[in-house]
């Protein structure tokens, strides 16, 4: 067993519920203190909740550790504590080595500055020294494939170019410990792969990586060990295949893996299944259509101007299809959202649904549906792989000769 580079014990973090809304005004605080000076010294906390409770963790050197769990389970809070963005309320951790954190794509980028200037700025903010950036600059630029545009202000960049530059800077960060949150979910697939490759190099060089992701495929591909965080506590730790499948199983059960920290959410998606065609496996599609998919949604408080989005991605995170419905009114209770599709000609691979619900422009729930959609339709396409496309259409062929 190699040495532990991160050792955490009893990490806990308490937040005030709706901290932003209630504590916003100095005027109010002063008024409270004037009205009742003694209460200012009493520790009568407003409504609080534990985003993280008693988490102990050891991460060994050179390990790639996955962190999974539903939205609001505390994964990001844990990552934020380990990267020192926020302090724990209780507990402590010890980290051995330089820590780099990637919680966002393009941290510190400023639109008015050129690619070159932003490389230096973002690099410095992420923890590189000037010397280090100067040394790696050419490599970063060629990695991002932006040689021609490096002196253009990035406000003129396309979103693809922006992401490429951001990743290139991040990928060249060489801390002993790298904390990554979901950032690889954006960007085009080819470039993502390049970054993952670079990260793989990082791991092979004896560096330690903690990766938070909703994409279980990514976790499976990259992580040796996985920690499943649920309601602010560690539910399971172990080898990736075991933890991920336990997680998938729990998420498909009606209770969708706890998640009490999100108790204040107005609604949340619980599960999904294929209604039509009916079969033994509710997440396996064996026909090109017609198809009906149902998503179970639990509504806790009324949705007045709901906007509901659905997207289907393949395992390589390419968008297959997306749609959205506006002006939904939903009363509290269990709902079933049913999408009927006359045909869904997908290649025999695995896919992911992404469901979102918005109310009055505010995100209520974003769900990376588990389990994945397994498509077991026979492949109707060209016999050679390089001539296989997105659509798996059964075709009929006939030659007819015009008479006359």
């Amino acid at each position: 067993m190699s040495t532990a580079v991160i050792h955490a014990e009893g990490l806990s973090k308490r937040y005030q519920r709706g901290a932003l809304a209630s504590s916003g005004l100095l005027r109010d605080t002063l008024a409270r203190m004037l009205r009742a000076p003694w209460t200012a010294f009493q520790r009568n906390k407003p409504e609080t909740f534990w985003a993280l409770k008693d988490v102990s963790l050891d991460v060994r050197e050179g390990e790639v550790l996955g962190l999974i769990g539903r939205n609001g389970s505390g994964k990001t809070t844990l990552l934020k504590i380990l990267s020192r963005i926020t302090r724990p309320t209780e507990g402590w951790a010890e980290i051995h080595g330089r820590v780099g954190s990637l919680l966002e794509v393009g941290t510190g980028f400023h639109p008015e500055l050129t690619g070159r200037e932003n490389t230096f700025l973002s690099g410095a903010i992420l923890g590189m020294s000037k010397q280090e950036i100067v040394r790696k600059f050419d490599e970063i630029v060629s990695f991002a494939e932006l040689e021609k545009f490096i002196d253009t202000p990035i406000k003129h960049y396309s979103s693809g170019m922006y992401v490429r530059l951001a990743f290139a800077v991040a990928a060249h960060l060489e801390p002993e410990i790298l904390l990554v949150d979901e950032v690889l979910a954006v960007g085009d697939f080819k470039f993502q792969k390049k970054c993952l490759g670079k990260m793989g190099d990082v791991a092979r060089a004896g560096r330690t990586v903690i990766l938070v992701s909703h994409q279980l495929n990514q976790i499976r591909r990259l992580c040796d060990r996985t920690v499943w965080v649920d309601s602010g506590a560690i539910r399971q730790t172990g080898a990736t295949p075991e933890v991920v499948s336990a997680y998938e199983t729990a998420m498909t059960s009606p209770e969708r893996g706890g998640g009490t920290t999100h108790a204040n959410a107005k609604a949340r998606f619980l599960s999904w299944k294929i209604m039509e065609p009916t079969g033994k496996f509710p997440h396996r599609l064996d026909s090109v259509g017609p198809v009906a998919i149902s998503f179970q949604l639990e509504v806790r408080s009324p949705i007045r101007h709901g906007h509901q989005g659905i997207a289907l991605f393949d395992a390589e995170r390419r968008l297959m299809w997306a749609f959205a419905n506006d002006d939904l009114t939903l009363e509290p209770g269990l709902h079933e959202l049913i999408y009927k599709l006359p045909f869904l000609p997908l290649c025999p691979k695995s896919y992911n649904w992404q469901l979102s619900l918005w109310d009055e422009g505010e995100n209520v729930d974003l769900w990376e549906a588990v389990p994945e959609l397994q498509v077991t339709i026979p492949n109707y396409q060209h016999a050679r792989d390089e001539w296989n496309g997105f659509l798996n259409l059964p075709s009929e062929f006939k030659v007819s000769r015009e008479k006359g």
Binding site: V5, L26, G97, G108, L121
Partner: protein
């Protein structure tokens, strides 16, 4: 928060740890008295980059760029000369009123813009604060320092302007950086408090214009401090910017009187404000990332 020192009792938990790496300890905030200036020094390169960014962006965004930095204090001076010099005929210590006024407007412009920038700096960098760690203390410092570039440009104009009026700087000019330093520390002394408060309370930003306006009137920018009645002079001396401006004028032109006793009071007050500001800021830092 995490201190970059190895703690022998704590590191024992990491058995066989690789040698030569630094150990961070992450803990709940517990001590009341943390200055953490050492960490600021470790991150000095980032401080430089943030100042550099601020300056770059300022000159890129404004259409007229650098000229704005010159035009703004010049216009202020012209208008003041017209109303306070020509109409109100305020005394100006034997200097042409325009020189008298301009010598105060240049350091005052630095002070007011830097204070405003320091107040807003946490809110403006909210995204970065919530996504990556660095000592947050860097931000108010960067705001206080990036204003110095504007100041330098304004100061060159001021030198030319005084020269054109036939006033030759005296030996006292060498003391001028000291007064500038006092101005920087005054920005920090107030800015550290306001930046943390502004991050935590949304209504602080409405307070700032009022504070600055009030402070302008309470400082000898447009009038001479000798107009303040003798028995209130001590009270006036509590305003460090009064000492800065008087000292600035004196150092530049050699006329007027060097601020003496009140200057010591100013230095003392600023010292206390900066120290208190550092403690307050560090204490609030923990909640800033959660609440900003």
């Amino acid at each position: 928060m995490a201190s970059a020192t190895s703690n022998p009792s704590a590191t024992s938990t990491l058995a066989n740890r690789p040698p030569g790496l630094l150990t961070l300890r992450i803990e709940p905030p517990h001590t009341l008295f943390e200055l953490r200036l050492k960490e600021l020094w470790t991150y000095r390169e980032l401080l430089f980059f943030l100042v550099w960014r601020d300056v770059k962006i300022r000159y890129k965004q404004t259409v007229i760029g650098v000229t704005w930095v010159i035009v703004q204090p010049l216009l202020t001076m012209l208008v003041a000369t017209l109303f306070f010099g020509k109409l109100a005929k305020l005394p100006s210590q034997g200097l042409p009123y325009s020189v008298f006024c301009f010598a105060a407007v240049v350091p005052w412009t630095y002070f007011s813009t830097a204070l405003l920038a320091a107040t807003n700096v946490m809110v403006e960098n909210q995204r970065v604060i919530t996504k990556v760690y660095f000592p947050r203390l860097i931000l108010p410092f960067s705001a206080a320092l990036s204003g110095l570039v504007d100041f330098c440009i304004g100061f060159i104009v001021l030198l030319i302007f005084t020269f054109a009026h036939g006033i030759r700087p005296a030996w006292t000019l060498v003391l001028l950086p000291l007064f500038l330093l006092l101005a920087v520390f005054t920005v920090l002394g107030v800015g550290l408090w306001l930046s943390a408060l502004n991050a935590l309370y949304r209504d602080v930003k409405y307070l700032i214009p009022f504070i600055i306006q009030f402070w302008t009137l309470a400082s000898p920018v447009y009038y001479s401090s000798s107009m303040v009645p003798e028995r209130y002079r001590w009270l006036y001396g509590l305003n460090p910017m009064a000492g800065v401006i008087d000292g600035f004028r004196w150092a530049l032109t050699g006329t007027g009187h060097p601020p003496a006793a009140s200057l010591f009071a100013s230095v003392g007050i600023v010292g206390v404000a900066v120290l208190g500001g550092l403690l307050f800021f560090n204490r609030m830092e923990g909640s800033i990332a959660d609440r900003v």
